[in-house]
Assembly symmetry: C2
Homo-oligomer: 237 residues x 2
Amino acid sequence: MNIADQTFPAVDSANEDRAQTIRDQLRDAIVDRRLAPGTKLSEGEVGTLFDVSRTVARAALQMLSFEGLVRTERNRGAFVANPSPEEARQVFASRRLIEPGIAIAAAGRMTPAHVAAFKAQLDEEGRFIAERGPNARRSEIKASGDFHLLLASVAGNAILQRFMEELVARSSLVIALYGRSGVSSCGHSEHMNILEALENGNSERASALMLHHIDHIEADLDLRVRGGPALRQALEF
Amino acid sequence: MNIADQTFPAVDSANEDRAQTIRDQLRDAIVDRRLAPGTKLSEGEVGTLFDVSRTVARAALQMLSFEGLVRTERNRGAFVANPSPEEARQVFASRRLIEPGIAIAAAGRMTPAHVAAFKAQLDEEGRFIAERGPNARRSEIKASGDFHLLLASVAGNAILQRFMEELVARSSLVIALYGRSGVSSCGHSEHMNILEALENGNSERASALMLHHIDHIEADLDLRVRGGPALRQALEF
DNA sequence: CTCGCAAAAATCGTATGCAATCTTTCCTGA
DNA sequence: TCAGGAAAGATTGCATACGATTTTTGCGAG
């Protein structure tokens, strides 16, 4: 897969920072797996695709590299990240540490508006699971991540929210790479249980459910190294 | 305080990324309080000081803005961050969530070499506390942060380590801004207690001590808004 | 046909230039 | 004297240019 095969919506909200817009689009493409891990993102190509100069494209790539979604090598360029099993484990270890606390914080701040937003989110999630098709799975992974991001935004801590944005994005990459199959529908019901606990203000239960949920997601991964990591990296897969 | 009043060591390890070196130096200057919150960091000045073009200076400032140490405003430039009391609370809320878990992870991975490194670190910390002088306090804050960074590196999770780097740096800013006085010596003894628990592999105790330690640090802050935050921001203080 | 090496092409790192925006200065009129 | 506003200056956003490094291509020897 080459980045030139992608098409990107025009950058219309021009007033804002263009590099940020490009970063968001590339992040979506990576998380959606439209850009495969290892894909080279050359500054020139990105610039041409988004109709900006290399300067702006470079800034966007730098941002993604901070988030761990792309890896940059000096004088060689930027590549869509290809997380190792060890990195995958660290992503989930971090989530286990942070997300139960976020669930507790969110439980104490739920409003009816939040509940409605969660319901809408879970509805959409359910719809993607019902669908069966090539990009339904992508949408499903994305929607599942959005549930966790919504939770983080309710928790009301901007720093933790940013951490979660990074962790969720990296998780999506990891799931795409190492995911076995269908914990997803199971995950959907777990999301609903978590929401129920949140609605009842039962923070302890929400926290415990979240912890189990993360364990389940990770348990669905196959993190055995296959073929040796050196070869994989050498082949840029 | 103006950035031009600062002096920076020459960038000698030239082979590496120059923007990164500049970022590190600026970060040290901010954390050490040699650059006051609100100080303008113009691309041109930074470039001149480090003898690079604005392109490179800009990249360094962008990195710092990702870490939350500088705030950038479009068409206006970059300023040393001036965390609000609310931001300060969020920093410590994040640390309360993450650091006890880091302590647990670290307790299971301590080696004699790690213990020695911690002892050296605590010795240095004690030396700075003994000293009394204008920049002894700076060094003290920095050394105190280094203890937490050392702990994070022992925990062996690169992602959490990066999160902690950001949180410790922002904490240093917060302490410099809102710190009352001398919990620091008290903090030193708490560090020693934590190390003791780590040495004994008593992860539960290390975790609990860490949580209290963070509480103590935050309790020493005076987070009441003085003069109204709008005014402060308007005056760039 | 394959291997090795040199030339060509592509890509990156960085400096610099120009237009747009913001800030400061200074002048004018009340 | 002071408010208002225009012009000058400073600074940022972005594009482009050029040397340095890497990758690819092409060619000749074995």
